[in-house]
Amino acid sequence: MTEAEKFEEAQRPPPQCEKAAEDVLRQIEESYNTVAKAEGRDKEILLDRAKWHGIHAYRYEILDDGSVIALYSHQPGELKIKAFDDMEDASLWSPRDER
């Protein structure tokens, strides 16, 4: 089992990624506030984006064994973790795949 798979199973970020996780949660909250406050054409575009792709924030972190986790969120306060074998594998993914 890779390091990334362990953290995916636990759905808890590694200690060294706690600030990264906080940043993802900060960004998703900011994105939702953005959508809530948007008006007119901005609102239309953001609602289209939400329908087509979802609203999300995410980042990739490389762990000590070379495996990679994506820290991602679709909702304020909700952090999810997905494991990948390496960055090449992770790079093809985005949270829109998990909706």
Binding site: W52, A57, Y58, M87, S91
Partner: protein, 166 residues
């Protein structure tokens, strides 16, 4: 004289002499080429059938002689018109006037940067720290083409706007 539009440039990454958009994969800021042309190459039929995810690194460069570019924001507008494509933005991990990390190739993501997909106007843009005169800040772009995407005359534009002292 305050900062005007011609003082602010998008510059490619990929090294001081880089003029190839496809090589804008992080590293030093290009001093030769504006990143205002097509940053991403056309999507082939094979790529759209299989899906295609690519990354580029660019810099917002303040080329005014003395004034800082204050609280600039970066965003995508117009957005990709195709429902099968999307563009995400992230500010580089590195600070102002520091070269971005280099990624292995155009299909490999940068680590430790937070991507978002709601920066679609000045009001909703990602906020960059102030950029002093002659300095720059890196921005990552991610273009996603879903597998099976229909042919489309698709594009998106990256914008930046900030404040200036007189």
């Amino acid at each position: 004289m305050p900062i005007v539009a011609t003082d602010i440039h998008f510059r490619l990454s990929g090294g001081a002499a880089n003029s190839n958009q496809n090589a804008a994969l992080g590293g030093a800021k290009s001093t030769t080429t504006d990143a205002s042309a097509s940053l991403f190459d056309d999507v082939t039929g094979a790529e759209s059938a299989a899906g295609d995810t690519e990354y580029r690194g660019i810099y917002v460069s303040n080329e005014h002689g003395t004034l800082a570019y204050l609280a600039p924001r970066v965003w995508v507008s117009p957005d990709t018109p195709s429902p099968d494509t999307d563009a995400d933005l992230a500010l580089a991990l590195e600070g102002v006037n520091v070269a971005m990390a280099t990624i292995a190739d155009e299909n490999t993501a940068p680590a430790s940067v937070t991507f978002a997909n709601t920066a679609i106007s000045y009001a909703t843009g990602l906020t960059i720290p102030d950029i002093p005169a002659g300095q720059y800040k890196g921005v990552w772009l991610k273009r996603v083409v879903n597998a099976g995407a229909a042919a489309y005359a698709d594009s998106f534009t990256v914008n930046v706007q900030g404040d200036t002292n007189p």
